[in-house]
Amino acid sequence: MSVASSLGGQAGGGEVAGGLMGRAAPETSSVATSTTAGPELVQLLTPEGERVSHPDYALDLTAEDYRSLYRDLVLVRRVDVEATALQRQGELGIWAALLGQEAAQVGSGRALLPGDYAFPTYREHGVAYCKGVDPLKLLGLFRGVSHAGWDPHDHNFGLYTIVIGSQTLHATGYAMGIQKDGTEDAVIAYFGDGATSQGDVNEAFVFATVFNAPVVFFCQNNQWAISEPLERQTRIPLYQRARGFGFPGVRVDGNDVLAVLAVTRAALRNAREGNGPTFIEAFTYRMGAHTTSDDPTRYRLASDLETWKLKDPLERMKAYLVRSGMADAAFFAGVEVDADALAAHVRKGCIEMPDPDPLSIFDGVYAEPTALLAEERARFAAYLSSFADGPQADADSAAATAGGR
């Protein structure tokens, strides 16, 4: 069953508001500040690893599917742990950890077809992995050697976007383009709970709904916008925001990779079928700091962390695989070997990543180069070469280490 039909109708129809109101909406005056997970949370795998069903979201997977989902969760977490360590060792300037959000990212990322385009924030390392982006490309950004090292069109994975919420408009415009092309691709826009306060995100909802664009708005509600709790962004559950814009919203257990996969697939299918956008609120928790520069002990309780540890996305999947007999000790050992290999690749590649040539500052500013910038570049080159053992000499040796450029 599609997201729209499960929530009472298609976007744009009068049924949407009525259906949603009938299902989940209290009177405005009683909405208050209930922003926590409630009975409406879609779940297919409990924190204890018990497989449950949901009337609206069937999910038919093979044993191999289940195993590979678990494998992806482990690998993505391993990249994250390794990157955090590399930052602590001075190899990265900063790292934005995804710890705790693996299921939200792998579940939604695995729901995407190759032609589907993802527009990330700066924390979608798991989605990048699902889209085939080498984690080293992500590390390049956090090391400071590039602003983004991948060609977005190679992977249908957009550039990391640091200004909060901007990419939701890009996603919507891209989806409008798909509509004009008449293809059956869809778009997914990632953002967080804090971003829902941004004007751009609200404008994206307006554009997406009035043009009925094939875009899924995937909000990872990790409860924290750096130090600000969800209550500083909203007084209703975030997924209910969609109702006011006239499109369906659904809240899914963001630590349940199966539920996220099923809900995202349904939303993407709905978009492909011409039924417009869906808002997915993946209810999760940022287990780590906002970034390696942050100190969450200043603003949140350790006990919250303990509560959420019990809902860990990897542990529940592992428990299910063991209990169901779909995976044995050899499988888990093999996953660890793969994770070790990926971590080694990330570590070695990061440490060996050369600093760019100083003159590359001038590269790629324009598609059609300008004489003024060429002049500035030439002057800077002359300046650098005026140092016998100066910056240019260093850059030359760095370039030589990297195999020249």
């Binding site: 200004v163 901007s166 408009l169 890009h170 415009g173 891209y174 989806a175 404008e203 324009y366 059609e368």
Partner: protein
């Protein structure tokens, strides 16, 4: 060849661009059925359909943000910002996203988006309808910024802007929308990013763009007719980023004097950059400092005061006198 207004010339240029490339889209507030508040997009939706001429929701950041997404999908959007003073809600998308995405992508991702902005005062409008925000955009690497001053340039420059692979901020002098000129569509235009000498002269170089080109030309005619009989060379800059300094420097080296004219406030305006570059390149040729004539360093005043605020023929000639007094 019939005389064509500047507004109509932009319209014809957009039409030509849309005929030449099915990926060209026009989007903005009221650009469809209404044809835009200045009628610049008149008739385009009727001929090209609602899928290509899009009446957008009333949200400028949304217009530019979705245009970026459309460009990533392979389209060439031409956004209309209804008035200069309404561009600021889109400023973040323009400066942080549109201008930087090609650089961010290490040159793999061009964003061929044109943003048309009717700019400048002189039409007796209420607040936010008469501004000259070009310096904000010229200051931002990754954007290209141009301003047309007459119907012929308007026609060719909009076509050139649309086919360019870089984002172009395209300023249209709204108080000149109804001025007419003979337009020969088969003519060969100069490159988009080139300045042109629109009146040759020997004694002083006047630099202007957009609505001030006509003012500069009127000042040059008056200076020639006056007792001193001064011969002013007028250059229409046309491109504000990148600047085309070649004809400018050649001219100033010859005349030894230069006055820059724009409606925008002089503090950190285009004139500041031009004065600095001309001084550096022509130091030994200059008989006087480069002088700037512009709006005052105030917000744009109520329209009953705009005649006093805006540079006119007399204020240009006053600056010319000062340049000769050094």
């Amino acid at each position: 060849m019939a005389p064509t207004t500047l507004a109509k010339a932009v319209n014809m240029g957009l039409r030509k661009a849309m005929e030449s490339d099915p990926k060209v889209l026009v989007m903005g507030e009221d650009v469809g059925k209404l044809g835009g508040v200045f009628r610049v997009t008149d008739g385009l939706q009727k001929d090209f359909g609602e899928a290509r001429v899009i009446d957008t929701p009333l949200a400028e950041s949304g217009i530019v943000g979705t245009a970026i997404g459309l460009a990533l999908r392979g389209y060439r959007p031409v956004c209309e910002i209804q008035f200069d003073g309404f561009v600021y809600p889109a400023y973040d998308q323009i400066v942080s996203q549109l201008a930087k995405m090609h650089y961010r992508s290490q040159g793999t991702t061009p964003l061929p988006v044109t943003i048309r902005i009717p700019f400048g005062g002189g039409i007796g409008a209420v607040e936010h309808h008469s501004e000259s925000p070009e310096a904000y955009f010229a200051h931002t690497a990754g954007l290209k910024v141009v301003a047309c001053s007459n119907p012929v340039d308007a026609y060719f420059m909009i076509r050139q802007a649309v086919v360019a692979d870089d984002p172009v901020i395209f300023f249209e002098p709204k108080r000149r929308y109804w001025e007419k000129a003979e337009l020969d569509e088969s003519a060969t235009p100069p490159p988009l990013h080139s300045a042109t000498v629109v009146r040759p002269g020997d004694d002083l170089t006047v630099l202007a763009y957009g609505p001030m080109v006509r003012t500069a030309l009127e000042a040059a005619a008056a200076a020639a007719a006056a007792d001193e009989g001064r011969s002013l060379e007028v250059i229409d800059l046309r491109t504000l980023s990148p600047l085309d300094l070649v004809p400018v420097l050649e001219s100033v080296r010859r005349t030894g004097r230069c006055v820059v004219v724009h409606e925008a406030p002089v503090f950190l305006g285009m004139g500041s950059e031009l004065a600095a570059r001309i001084t550096e390149a022509c130091f030994y040729s200059l008989e006087a400092p480069v002088l700037r004539v512009g709006g005052f360093d105030t917000p744009y005043p109520p329209s009953r005061l705009e005649e006093a605020y805006l540079p006119d023929l007399d204020r240009v000639l006053d600056a010319v006198d000062h340049a000769f007094a050094f």
